[in-house]
């Protein structure tokens, strides 16, 4: 009798039959079952990785022919004798900086000065690609359909040193250059996350100077603090509504359960003072939680029916364009899915890509718009009431006392008049011997005849709106207390209107207050609108005027012996004089960095360096201007465009200078009808196509500058 618990050895024959049966079943499955079924959800706990392994062995059917080709990037990153890394792309070769990306296996960041080597963007990240990366491409196509700013995803082959060739996804790094290239020359790259526990999400990261960063952060914190949810009217001023609606719709389409817990990229438009989203898909591997989110300026908008209607309209627009989007995406699948399959099954890769597309266009877009997943309860981020009291749930005692204390101190020191929320400085002499801070929440008014005398190295900071009511007969003066001993700065930082008329100011050199550097004698940062009329600013070798952000209007008056810097502003400079006044450094002129400005009938005279410099994507129309006896009349820097029309150039050393950028794109000068007499040299523009000559500006150019 056989004992039941005795072990019976499995014979070789039985083993072979067992193996053959499994192999046969798998071959049959891959031969007769459609790839759509195999690419879907698998039974018996079979994972996608296991299916890929089976497919590698048992899928014997031919795959589709890839219609796309990939550019090959070949890196030589072992530092040569000169310590440079080289990258070969096709038949081109150039020097690059490279570094490994810590959080992704095999990813590398490349940056080059060689124009066009890496494609249109000089700074990119390459990550090993899988067929799932096609989803990024689909999302890019949809985002473009919605008119969102989104970086272009592409695929390349990459090999470096001993690393074998593999397909990589190429993503551009979003920086100021990228923004300028996409027409957002007044944008500051801003990264925001909304996990209340994460220290790096506490406040946005800005690629900007500290003065403007702090100003924006305070505005955001204040908007979030005005109740949770914040009233949409407050938020409407802070964001580009249509763009944000499209961006939230994209997050909804992604189907990520917790997209706002991650950092997203935005552009802060300095001229409009609003946030504009730049769409990038949320990383799928990122954390998910049911916990509340930190206050953000977007979620409360979802409670506004008008805003939801915008989202709905954009969804309808996408539904209309669905056929076109699908066609584009299917073409992408045909071109790239087989290439991205690598050693895996091409048929499975194609089927999975089609399934991803179906989820996006049918399952998510086809379903009614439900923004519930995006609407999370909001709490202040950790430590907000202490570290950013403006955004705290209660008005801090210290801030209140701060404001009262400052006001009381000002009243003790000066004969000021407090009228409601305004602090009036009537006619009289005000000697500032210590740093003076004019508190937020009060409009400061300097009346005709007010005369500030500021001690050497001391500063004045106005944290709120400023109004200077000087006249030609009765100006307002801001002067150093002692001749030859310059004061620091008179700075305005905040929100609202800065209206300055009839100001005579001299003897400042820029200063630092509350740890923030204010670069010019008169520094205005973050104001919504700045108007300077009939002011005389005398820099005496230092920067005389610095305005960052917002709309500006300079009319009449003069800037003598010091440079005026306008950064990311929009507006006009009308009939203003810029002269050197024999200052020691020969400094002076107007420097425009980013933004869009109309210069109407200005005078630039006797400047020993550049009279008008446009840089960092600035767009300028100069009309009816006079340039006399300057070293260089107009210089056009990287990515900038200057239109010059009906101007007179007289006895300048060089009239137009468009320097060759170091690997990057050059600026462009548009010359129209102008009068040149007695200039030593007319143009220095070695770059190809950097000067465009035509008769008169097109109507759309005039319209863009408001000069019709």
């Amino acid at each position: 009798m056989t004992r039941a618990h005795e072990r019976r050895p499995v014979g070789l024959k039985a083993l072979l039959i067992g193996i053959l049966m499994i192999v046969g079943a798998l071959v049959a499955a891959f031969s007769f079952v459609g790839p759509e079924l195999l690419a879907g959800r698998l039974p018996l706990g079979i994972t996608r990785t296991e299916m890929d392994a089976y497919a590698r062995w048992f899928d014997r059917r031919p795959g589709s022919d890839a219609q796309g080709t990939l550019t090959h990037f070949e890196g030589q990153f072992r530092a040569e004798a000169d310590g440079k890394d080289l990258l070969r792309v096709g038949d081109r070769e150039g020097q690059v900086e490279h570094r490994a990306v810590a959080d992704v296996y095999g990813a590398v960041e490349l940056r080059t000065n060689t124009s066009g080597l890496l494609g249109p963007d000089p700074w990119v990240v390459l990550r090993p690609a899988t067929p799932e990366d096609l989803r990024h491409k689909f999302l890019q196509v949809i985002a473009e359909e919605l008119g969102l700013l989104t970086p272009e995803v592409s695929f390349v082959e990459f090999s470096a040193d001993d690393l074998p060739t593999a397909v990589h996804r190429k993503d551009p790094v979003i920086d100021a250059t990228w923004l300028t290239r996409h027409g957002v020359s007044d944008g500051v790259v801003t990264v925001m996350g909304f996990d209340p526990q994460r220290p790096d999400h506490f406040l946005p990261t800005f690629e900007a100077g500290e003065a403007v960063s702090r100003s924006i952060r305070e505005r955001l914190a204040l908007a979030c603090a005005q109740g949770v949810p914040a009233p949409p009217a407050v938020l409407a001023d802070l964001v580009e509504r249509d763009q944000v609606a499209a961006w939230l719709l994209m997050l909804h389409l992604e189907g990520h359960p917790d997209p706002l817990r991650h950092r997203h990229t935005f552009a802060w438009r300095e001229t409009s003072g609003r946030l504009m989203p730049i769409y990038r898909p949320t990383p799928e591997s990122s954390a998910v939680s049911d916990a509340p989110l930190a206050c953000d300026p977007f979620t409360p908008l979802l409670a506004d029916p008008a805003f939801r209607a915008i989202m709905q309209a954009q969804r309808d627009k996408l539904l209309e364009a669905r056929g076109r989007i699908r066609e584009r995406c299917v073409a992408l699948i045909d071109a790239f899915a087989p290439l991205l399959a690598g050693n895996g099954s091409e048929r499975l890769a194609v089927a999975r890509a089609k399934a991803m597309l179906a989820v996006l266009l049918d399952e998510r877009l086809g379903a009614p718009l439900d923004t519930g997943a995006l609407r999370r309860p909001m709490v202040p981020p950790v430590g907000q009431a202490t570290l950013m009291p403006a955004g705290g749930s209660t008005l801090p005692v210290s801030a209140r006392e701060d404001s009262d204390e400052l006001l009381a101190a000002i009243k003790r020191r000066f004969r000021v008049v407090a009228q409601g929320d305004s602090i009036l400085f009537p006619r009289g002499r005000y000697v500032v011997e210590e740093d003076l801070i004019l508190p937020a929440g009060h409009r400061v008014v300097l009346l005709p005849g007010a005369r500030f005398e500021i001690a050497p190295g001391r500063n004045v900071l106005c944290r709120g709106p400023l109004e200077v009511r000087g006249t030609a007969l009765n100006p307002v003066f801001i002067r150093p207390q002692r001749t030859g001993a310059p004061f620091g700065t008179f700075a305005v930082r905040g929100d609202g209107l800065c209206d300055i008329a009839g100001l005579r100011m001299s003897g400042g050199m820029g200063g630092t207050m509350e740890g923030i550097a204010y670069p010019a004698m008169l520094t205005i940062v973050g104001m919504t609108r700045t108007v300077l009329s009939s002011c005389e600013l005398s820099g005496e070798g230092h920067d005389a005027l610095y305005i960052e952000g917002g709309r500006v209007h300079l009319e009449g008056g003069s800037v003598l012996g010091g440079t005026a810097v306008l950064r990311n502003t929009q507006g006009a400079v009308v009939a203003t004089r810029f002269e050197s006044k024999g200052s020691p450094g020969g400094a002076g002129g107007l420097s425009i960095s980013g933004g869009r400005l109309l210069l109407d009938a200005p005078l630039f005279q006797g400047l020993k360096d550049v009279a008008l410099l446009a840089d960092a994507g600035a767009q300028v129309l100069v009309r009816s201007a006079v340039f006399t006896r300057n070293a260089t009349a107009i210089q056009v820097g990287t990515l900038s465009a200057v239109h010059v029309s009906d101007c007179r150039f007289d006895a300048n050393t060089l009239v137009f200078h468009v320097p060759e950028a170091d690997g990057g794109p050059v600026g462009r000068l548009h010359r129209y009808a102008n009068t040149l007499t007695g200039d030593q040299r007319e143009v220095d523009a070695p770059g190809e196509g950097s000067v465009v000559v035509s008769d008169r500006p097109d109507a759309f150019v005039l319209r863009a500058f408001g000069a019709e």
Binding site: D103, P196, P199, D200, S213, A385, T394, S398
Partner: protein, 399 residues
């Protein structure tokens, strides 16, 4: 038959040795302590030992590989990220991976899941670590400047993994890491808080930062205010307003009162925006008590609440914190989420330790049911404390 007989003798011998060791332990430690320790160890083996080791952790998994040639160097692996790190300094007894210790680590750069470069790595009682995390959570949610903290499954040199806690070391970069300012700030730190903090001896405080002479003057000025008993009330109030962020300090002490804890170390940060001192909470320990059992606050908080309006504000803040965090269930939700995320990892930790004997600070190996029971006790104690604090009259401004 011979084999069976010798096997039986072995088991009898093993039983005898076990019984004898228990008798010796009982004689040395006392029967109650021995019983508690033996029971906890036995449960650890039988309950947790038989449980299936979960495959997926819901908290960060980190691997630290020490450099064999340089004792203070190692490489931290956080998913695909490999970051060189330095062992910073040690607190407590012994070095990792011993039972109770805290070691500082300095990462060369932050990773996606570790957003700060200077961290304490705590290894001790799991319940104590949860308590510390929740205290930091309460303080942070209530607006106090606090250190970031997270639990993690940490493996050091391929030894068995352990549940550990990573906690930000508050340093000069605290505000910069939060994008509040762009440059490091100045701070003073006094580790190992004691009931009698040397507020009159600057030498015992460690300065971190650039070394701005005004910072030292402001610290000395604060010490002078605290140590001048006969300062007129108005002068004292003005000085305190000038030197410390009163609201921040009242909020800080209110959070400590709600959690009934004391700061593990005093960290005073000089906020460059207004130049005043802010307290930062980067770790807690049991509250310090006077002979009547009342919690002892730090000298600055004690001086602030001598002012009737500030005392009233303090009481309002305490009530508000209780209401906001305990009455609304926010505390329970956060604790539930933490426990849920820790569950598989705590089960996987075969060497988790906690106090098992009342009045004995030594840590012994424990099982999941013990941890769950202690966490229940912690939650109910916190609620009871909240109810007690809510009963206090906010309008009673007597000292």
């Amino acid at each position: 038959m011979r084999n069976k007989s010798s096997g039986g003798r072995f088991w009898w011998l093993l039983l005898a040795v076990t019984a004898l060791s228990f008798v010796i332990a009982a004689a040395m430690l006392g029967p109650e302590r021995s019983w508690c320790i033996a029971r906890a160890a036995a449960l650890s083996v039988t309950v947790d030992g038989l449980g299936e080791v979960p495959s997926d952790h819901r908290i960060p998994e980190l691997l630290i590989v020490r450099d064999n040639t340089m004792a203070d160097r190692a490489v931290l692996h956080d998913g695909p990220a490999e970051v060189p790190m330095l062992w910073y300094e040690a607190q407590g007894q012994g070095g990792l991976p011993d039972a109770v210790t805290t070691r500082g680590i300095a990462l060369e750069k932050v990773t996606a899941r570790l957003p700060v470069p200077l961290l304490w790595l705590d290894r001790g009682s799991i319940v104590d670590m949860v308590e510390q995390h929740m205290a930091l959570w309460v303080a942070g949610a209530y607006g106090v400047a606090t250190a970031w903290s997270t639990p993690a499954w940490v493996t050091i040199d391929h030894a068995p993994g352990r549940v550990m806690w990573l906690r930000e070391i508050a340093g000069p970069d605290l505000l910069r890491l939060r994008n509040v300012v762009d440059a490091p700030v100045e701070l003073y730190r006094l580790s190992h808080a004691r009931s009698e903090v040397p507020w009159n001896d600057l030498a015992q405080w460690r300065h971190e930062g650039e070394g701005d002479p005004e910072t030292q003057q402001r610290m000395l000025a604060l010490m002078q205010v605290l140590n001048t008993a006969d300062l007129p009330a108005m002068d004292r109030r003005d000085s305190l307003l000038r030197l410390v962020d009163v609201e921040a300090w009242l909020r800080y002490d209110a959070a400590l009162a709600v959690m009934d804890v004391a700061p593990e170390s005093f960290v005073l940060l000089r906020d460059p925006r207004h130049g005043r001192w802010l307290p930062v909470l980067d770790g807690v320990m049991g509250a310090l008590r006077d002979s009547t059992g009342r919690r002892i606050a730090d000298p600055v908080a004690r001086m602030l609440v001598q002012e009737p309006d500030w005392r009233h504000r303090h009481q309002v803040l305490v009530r508000e914190a209780c209401g906001m965090l305990l009455a609304t269930g926010a505390y329970d939700k956060a604790l539930d989420e933490l426990i849920e995320s820790l569950g598989p990892t705590v089960l996987a930790d075969r060497d988790k330790r906690d106090r098992v004997v009342a009045g004995d600070d030594n840590l012994y190996r424990v099982a999941m049911p013990h941890v769950a029971s202690r966490l229940r006790t912690m939650r109910s104690a916190q609620h009871a404390r909240g109810v007690e604090l809510m009963k206090e009259d906010p309008h009673d401004t007597r000292p």
